[in-house]
Symmetry: C2
Subunit: 117 residues, 2 copies
């Protein structure tokens, strides 16, 4: 079953507004799509994940699963984010065992939300 | 359709561990259930919303809706949290208009996650 990696494309990550540069969130989204979504994952841009003080933010969700929001991401994190998303996709409930969870997901969790019932 | 207000009952909110006192999250959960859930809302305790640096944390979710996580809550916020949960329950998509959103939800958002599709 496909899970969704939402990427906030409006996150400025405390960078000043600058017409010449895409927001960090948009650059992260581009880096992720350039690398390509792993099997079972779709990458979806979104305008604002309401984590503006902790941008750039991404979120993982899927039917029947715990949802997760992560912050303080940069383009350099794109490969690891995709690795974490792939691990999330292989679970039935969204719970990747702690030891197998990538470091940036362990350290930069904003919140998780139980499966919607 | 019923929405869920999850309340982390293990959040210590930076209070030192103390056998004589319930964690802030558990006290918040008790304050909420003492007041009683508004129509269309169920209050569900949960052990850890992975927002340990921003506790006490709560989350609002429901079928077809955006989900929201909020942090830095205390027992004193219980009446407003229930008011915000009631407003969330009356929407079909979880999007309470900004002007109608309670102040603590405007100011203490940790993240929101789009409807699961």
């Amino acid at each position: 079953m496909t899970v969704t990696l939402h990427v906030c494309i409006t996150c400025r990550a405390n960078e000043p507004a600058n017409d010449a540069t895409l927001p960090m969130g948009a650059r992260l989204h581009r880096a992720l799509t350039d690398l390509g979504a792993p099997e079972g994952v779709r990458i979806v841009p979104v305008e604002c994940l309401s984590a503006c003080g902790a941008g750039a933010a991404v979120a993982l969700s899927g039917p029947g699963r715990w949802s997760y929001a992560y912050g303080h991401m940069t383009e350099a994190d794109a490969p690891e984010i995709l690795q974490g998303a792939a691990a999330f996709a292989t679970t039935s409930d969204g719970l990747v065992p702690w030891r197998e969870r990538i470091a940036i997901f362990r350290k930069r969790s904003l919140a998780r939300i139980p499966p919607i019932g």
